[in-house]
Symmetry: C2
Subunit: 222 residues, 2 copies
DNA sequence: CGAACGCTTGAACATGATCAACTCCGGTGG
DNA sequence: CCACCGGAGTTGATCATGTTCAAGCGTTCG
């Protein structure tokens, strides 16, 4: 579902018209695409790569409120000032539109508008799940949640029920995402490792889920 | 904006057709409108009253993910199982639709679909702000945020810069909303009171903001 | 080689949760 | 009319979880 871009929702000739509005934009890892507080002039589709969307306090605390991958829609509509900062995690390809043009175009392509509505609802749903996490779950649960989510989305099954997962972000970004600190993330991961629930080599992004039943049990306590 | 219902977006004769799909539904305070896990068969507009939308863990921890007031849209679209519980906080009037009918109707009334998209985006934006709160702000900041929000929405100005606010929910619901406990809410409020920032009489829902500058300073730290 | 970075680990600390008592109030029933 | 009860709110003491501060390790990159 993530891989179906909004553009795929409209017929080819119309796509051509829309594409005329958009321009290809390459962003390298670490670059900021949108600063919170700037004028909200553009939106985009993610062609390839990964980005983080984050909100921050005035004194610099950061909470990642979402991650974007290929096919996802980037940007806020109907508001004049961006409230979020979008940063590329990897080298990224975007198809960017002036926001005003895009909003106008939406009205002409009902199928696209519907698809965007569905996606926005899905994002809202994710946000609601994460509010539950951030508000009510402890560090262990948040990390387990995160790993299972990852496994569900990208997990490759290995031998005896093992699931191999590539953690796509750094510890710092995990912390930003889960509302914790780097140290807490690290401690929880090593605890899961010494409990033989997961395995990974020091500093590696590669992670193997040895016992997903235990993870499920952490996520779904009695 | 909150008071403009979706129904107001379409012309009168069409409204009549849509209304034929909907039925008036009175809910008394405390009643549950939708249980998480049930079939997602209905959605509704809020005619009057107030409701809470909450997510819960299997073991009963609850996080309120949103509040609904007159004019707001109630329900999740495009999914077959409700993931959230909706509970009336006060006696409430709804205009309820079978979800399938409503989704079909959306396609016929582009103005309504657009309005719903705008609202969903606005809800998403609120959710993002709250993720920042839940993930990164301490109790004092969350309470200050909440009071200022309330003041902005419903505040009546009094004499010397005072703002009178009626807190529409119990301490328990504030706690559920802010991701804290009842005791923490109480302590933060009495602390603000002894700091002469707000005033209220024991147990009263009426609250006066004496010094909104201090609240702003708490919300927007150096 | 040295510096920088990502990650881990340890120790001390702080914040908010938990447990428990108590007040205030409104309703209910003797 | 008053005694009783239950719910909402407050307050205090203790405790646990996660943060903060600090150090150290292993890699990579200049």
């Amino acid at each position: 579902m993530r891989n179906k871009t909004l553009c795929a929702s409209i017929s080819d000739e119309r796509l051509a018209i829309l594409s005329a509005l958009g321009r290809r934009w390459r962003v390298s890892a670490g670059q900021v695409v949108t600063w919170a507080g700037d004028a909200n002039s553009h939106c985009a589709n993610v062609i390839s790569g990964a980005l983080k969307v984050s909100a921050s306090t005035a004194d610099g605390r950061e909470q990642i409120v979402g991650l974007l991958f290929a096919g996802d829609f980037l940007g806020q509509l109907f508001v004049n000032e961006a409230s979020l900062t979008v940063t590329a995690l990897t080298d990224t390809d975007l198809c960017a539109f002036p926001r005003a043009d895009f909003e106008r175009a939406l009205a002409s392509y009902p199928r696209m508008e519907r698809l965007l509505l569905e996606r926005t609802m899905a994002s809202l749903h994710e946000a609601q799940e994460r509010m539950l996490s951030l508000g009510r779950k402890d560090a262990r649960e948040r990390v387990a949640d995160f790993l299972l989510d990852l496994a569900r989305r990208t997990g490759m099954c290995g031998a005896a029920g093992e699931i191999r997962v590539l953690i796509p972000i750094s510890r710092g970004e995990m912390a930003g995402f889960l509302g914790l600190t780097i140290e807490t993330i690290s401690r929880q991961l090593t605890r899961l490792k010494s409990d033989r629930v997961i395995d990974f080599s020091r500093g590696e992004r590669e992670c193997v889920i040895l016992n997903s039943a235990v993870l499920e049990a952490i996520v779904n306590p009695a």
